[in-house]
């Protein structure tokens, strides 16, 4: 069972490596950001699988921290420094 979860984690890690290609080729900023968002979720899944494989409970807390802060990068990415079209939709 230990090996199954480790293999599963490795498989997910390989999907991250494949996804890196999207960050390299882009072409738009949004594409790159989306890939990073996918990595965060995949990373969470890997953490959970490794927690089971290595029997480390603290790793689930790592996944929890990943998840609750995953929105930060995207929020920083779409944020505008100055208010835009004040009359229109926010």
């Amino acid at each position: 069972m230990h090996h199954f979860y480790l293999l599963m984690a490795m498989f997910l890690f390989l999907t991250i490596l494949a996804g890196l290609l999207r960050v390299f080729i882009g072409p738009t900023k949004a594409d790159r950001m989306l890939a990073a968002q996918l990595f965060t979720t995949t990373g969470t899944a890997i953490c959970l699988l490794l927690a089971e494989a290595l029997q480390l409970d603290g790793v689930r807390d790592t996944a929890l921290v990943f998840v609750i802060l995953s929105i930060m990068a995207v929020a920083a990415f779409v944020r505008r420094l100055e208010p835009k079209n004040p009359g229109g939709e926010p």
Binding site: L17, A36, G58, V59, D61, I68, M72, A73
Partner: protein, 320 residues
């Protein structure tokens, strides 16, 4: 076998990501890769059975640093001739050749020295695990990492809180503002993000408190809790909430120095009563450590959030 394969993939990914962070042509790509690098590094900490560090890295490397860099990227866009320079695969070409020669020679020599040092290290055995476990009894906490941070090497933690304080003071003086009240109010964002943050903030606070509590007997502790707290404050600001600027100026200042002062007070008390700086009474060690950790959590949280918020536009910089 599976473990080795996993290790090798992880190391290859780390090197690949680091290489592209430093040598891609586009700055935005570099920042996104930097966030990904932080994520892969957190996975490496998990693999190396250091969950304490993985928690801190998940909050710092994968979120906080990325947010700071994304924010800086907006104002640091290179323009004109410099921009053309950056667009090329590598922009080292423009430096004087002696500079290039010097830097690559330095890197080469250092790498050789380091590699030989590392191969030496592979023969060395030992480590301090047994010593820490032998002293764990009566240190006031059941988790070895917390015991090292707060008890055995309390000096380090104390000075480190001082370093954090210096960093935020430095940023404030560079910005030429004395407190967060000179910041322009945050820009309103979409209602979707506002609502998400409204829902998720209690969870962030809960996780922060949970990590502080867990630090007594399992991975977690003041640093992780503080980093999560600070990230939460920044998240509030990004959702258009006034966050730390809501606090009275004096309150903010007290929160900043609380951790440093708590260590200083306890250290002086133990110096007067026992003659040793930062020595705990065995009887009260656990409650003393808990108080120190709570103070440190608040300080680290406000400091990290302050570092980021102090870089936001000031009232005087706004157009009109």
């Amino acid at each position: 076998m599976t473990d080795t394969l996993f290790d090798m993939t992880l190391c290859a990914a780390l090197i690949l990501a680091a290489w592209r962070v430093l040598h891609s042509s586009d700055h935005f790509q570099a920042v996104v890769l930097f966030i990904t690098f932080g994520l892969i590094l957190a996975l490496a900490w998990v693999r190396l059975e250091a969950p304490d560090i993985a928690i801190a890295e998940a909050a710092v490397g994968a979120s906080l640093a990325g947010v700071m860099l994304l924010d800086a990227l907006r104002v640091m866009r290179s323009v004109g001739k410099e921009h053309e320079q950056e667009k090329r695969w590598t922009s080292v070409a423009k430096l004087p050749s002696f500079h290039l020669f010097f830097s690559f020679a330095t890197v080469l020599i250092l790498s050789v020295v380091l590699i030989s040092a590392v191969t030496e290290l592979s023969d060395a055995q030992g480590g301090l695990t047994d010593l820490v476990h032998a002293e764990l009894e009566g240190s006031g906490t059941k988790h070895p990492v917390t015991a090292v941070l707060l008890n055995f090497r309390g000096y380090d933690t104390w000075i480190e809180l001082g370093v954090l304080l210096l960093a935020v003071l430095g940023v404030l003086s560079i910005r030429e503002c004395s407190n967060l009240h000179s910041l322009a109010p945050p820009v309103a964002t979409t209602i979707v993000l506002e609502n998400l943050v409204r829902g998720i903030m209690p969870l962030v606070l809960l996780v922060s408190g949970y990590l502080l509590w867990r630090g007594g007997f399992a991975p977690g502790g003041a640093f992780q809790a503080g980093v999560v707290l600070g990230a939460g404050c920044i998240l509030l600001w990004m959702a258009g909430h006034r966050s730390l600027t809501m606090l009275h100026d004096a309150t903010w200042r007290i929160l900043l120095i609380l951790g440093f002062l708590a260590f200083l007070a306890l250290g002086s008390y133990s110096l007067l009563s026992t003659g040793v700086f930062l020595a705990y009474d065995r009887q009260y060690a656990s409650i003393q450590i808990f108080l120190l950790e709570s103070a440190a959590t608040l300080s680290i949280g406000t400091t990290l959030a302050g570092l980021m918020l102090a870089l936001q536009p000031l009232k005087k910089d706004l157009p009109r």
